[in-house]
């Protein structure tokens, strides 16, 4: 039930975006993909989901090579930009994606209302997404990734633009999901979220700066803060 990224290279327009990446995400754990903008986080996430192909190297989900039709139903993906239909209500957006994952009938409706309640969107479910605020769209997008109760959750900056109270609630939910035996990969550029992960992959300019447990990474620093590793990387560049 693990996700393995092996020797992956990816370039866009002759510019190397990811080079020789090796990462493993374990079951019951949250893997954080941490890095500043342009580090290659989204590229990595999209490679894992199968949206794009690597130039070389392989990615396995539960020993099955990506992309694979059967895997799609076990993976929940939340893209960085809310891929939602503004001319549909939040409820209809969720139903549409739910049906694509072959959820049906009463079960689908129950699942949808449970998720809407949990993420405080139930009152707004019949509004067109066009009228949603940024935070509401973000929550809806997250709900869509969860609708088919996937084994693997791959979330690209899921908490951007969400207020601190709800953010804590969402991270508690991520932890619950992990405890239930799910595998989570979450990208973020917020350092305090890194501490909520089990392991972190630090990306900087397409290269893996470090990949280890949060405690181990902290022990490498003087300030006990992971961001120090990035500051160091930036400084080394100028020397």
């Amino acid at each position: 039930m693990s996700i393995e990224v092996k020797n992956v290279y990816k370039s866009f327009l002759k510019k190397i975006v990811l080079s020789d990446l090796n990462i493993v995400a374990e079951k019951e754990q949250i893997l954080g993909v941490i890095g500043p903008s342009g580090a290659g986080k989204t590229t990595l996430i999209r490679l894992i989901t199968g949206a794009i192909k690597s130039d070389s190297g392989e990615i396995f989900i539960d020993t099955v090579k990506v992309p694979n039709m059967k895997l799609f139903s076990q993976v929940g993906y939340m893209p960085q930009f809310d891929a939602l239909y503004p001319d549909l209500s939040g409820w209809d957006n969720l139903l549409f994606f739910g049906r694509l994952y072959r959820c049906k009938g009463k079960k689908l409706f129950e699942r949808c209302s449970k998720l809407f309640h949990f993420y405080d969107l139930y009152e707004e479910k019949d509004k067109l997404v066009y009228h949603y605020s940024g935070g509401m769209k973000k929550r809806l997008s997250l709900i869509i990734a969860l609708v088919h109760d996937p084994q693997y959750l791959i979330l690209d900056e899921p908490t951007v633009g969400i207020d601190p109270v709800l953010r804590k609630k969402i991270w508690d939910d991520f932890r619950d999901q992990a405890k239930q035996g799910k595998t989570l990969i979450i990208s973020t550029h917020v350092m305090d979220e890194a501490e909520k992960c089990d392991k972190c992959a630090l990306l900087y300019k397409g290269e893996l700066l470090a990949f280890d447990t949060v405690e181990k990474l902290k022990s490498l620093t003087k300030s006990n803060e992971i961001e120090e590793l990035f500051f160091r990387a930036t400084e080394e560049q100028f020397i």
Binding site: S73, Y77, A83, L84, L95, F97, L100, Y101
Partner: protein, 336 residues
């Protein structure tokens, strides 16, 4: 697939303006063209030369003003005392006009043909000549059926193309392509979802032109509907294909002069065999050409449905080809 169809219908219902555009814009265009090209209060003035008496009697009952012959045929036409002259020569009926004016020609030939068909349903069509200018064409009510085909194709193409591009720019396409859905199912869902809308549009516009504008549909009404619906499906598939090469809505609009305008010119409005340099052969690549051809047969010539089966097959084949092409193009989003 059902999920996609339901979604498209819901989106349409939420976007009333686009819905109204698709459903009523063709009707508006047909109405406008009705007034611009069509059945004005104009009553053609004609003279008859050597026309058998029974034909004269029937022609008098038509919506024509028959004037006595006041001189030589060409003199009358030159003086414009009459719009056209009907004469019989070696068993054929001839119509001679001052110059090519499709509205006048079509009006006269329609009235005369109606009359002749009462006597002999198998009567040959009119031989049309012009005092000035020459045309082999039998410009018989050439505007109505062409606009019918073009307008319907254009709006469905536009709506479908823009919807697909929006889907791609919003990222929803990438998102749902990562669900366990087959590429062919996606294309079929789109086709049927927008196709449903296209069917409603076709039925509405055909009924409107027949019963409100009184456009003559001489042949099978069902045949006309079948052709219109097939053309609408081609338009959806075409819009989807073209949108793959556009990055935003405006770029879809840029395809109009490339995709739509040539189809209007090569729809058969101007006989393609008359075009120089073999340009007319391009028409064989145009779906609208086949549809207009079939519509011409059905509406103007009153052909039975069996006669347009080749066009039905060609349009169906086009839909199939475009379906496969679209399915392959979705590989851009998912390699399997």
């Amino acid at each position: 697939m059902i999920a996609i169809i339901i979604r498209i219908i819901k989106q349409m219902l939420n976007d009333k303006r686009s819905l109204i555009l698709v459903l009523f814009a063709p009707i508006m265009i047909m109405t406008l063209s009705y007034f611009v090209f069509g059945e004005s209060a104009y009553v053609p003035k004609i003279a008859l030369i050597d026309v058998p008496y029974p034909v004269v009697q029937i022609l008098e009952a038509q919506n024509l003003e028959i004037l006595p012959q006041t001189g030589e045929m060409d003199e009358m036409l030159e003086a414009e005392t009459v719009d056209g002259v009907i004469y019989f020569e070696s068993g054929e009926i001839h119509l001679k006009m001052y110059e090519l004016n499709s509205m006048k020609v079509s009006k006269i030939s329609k009235e005369v043909l109606q009359a002749i068909k009462q006597i002999d349903p198998n009567a040959p069509t009119l031989q049309i000549e012009y005092l000035y200018g020459d045309s082999q064409s039998n410009t018989f009510d050439s505007i109505g059926y062409i606009l019918l085909g073009v307008a319907s194709f254009f709006f469905v193409f536009l709506i479908a193309g823009v919807s697909f591009v929006r889907e791609r720019t919003l990222g929803t396409m990438e998102r749902f392509m990562l669900s366990p859905i087959r590429r062919s199912t996606v294309v079929a869902g789109f086709l049927l979802g927008f196709g449903l809308l296209a069917v409603i549009q076709s039925v509405l516009v055909v009924i409107f032109v027949k019963y409100v504008l009184g456009l003559v549909i001489a042949g099978s009404l069902l045949g006309v509907l079948v052709i219109m619906i097939l053309l609408a499906y081609v338009a959806v598939a075409f819009g989807s294909l073209v949108s793959t090469f556009a990055n935003n809505e405006f770029q879809v609009a840029q395809f109009i002069p490339i995709i739509i305008v040539p189809q209007i010119f090569l729809s058969g409005m101007i006989p393609i065999e008359l075009l120089p340099l073999g340009i007319g052969n391009l028409a064989y690549l145009m779906p609208v050409y086949y549809a207009c051809n079939a519509l011409n047969d059905l509406m103007v010539k009153g052909a039975p449905f069996v006669e347009v089966i080749p066009e039905v097959l060609i349009l169906s084949g086009l839909i199939l080809i475009l379906f496969i092409a679209n399915t392959l193009l979705l590989k851009k989003y998912r390699t399997i």
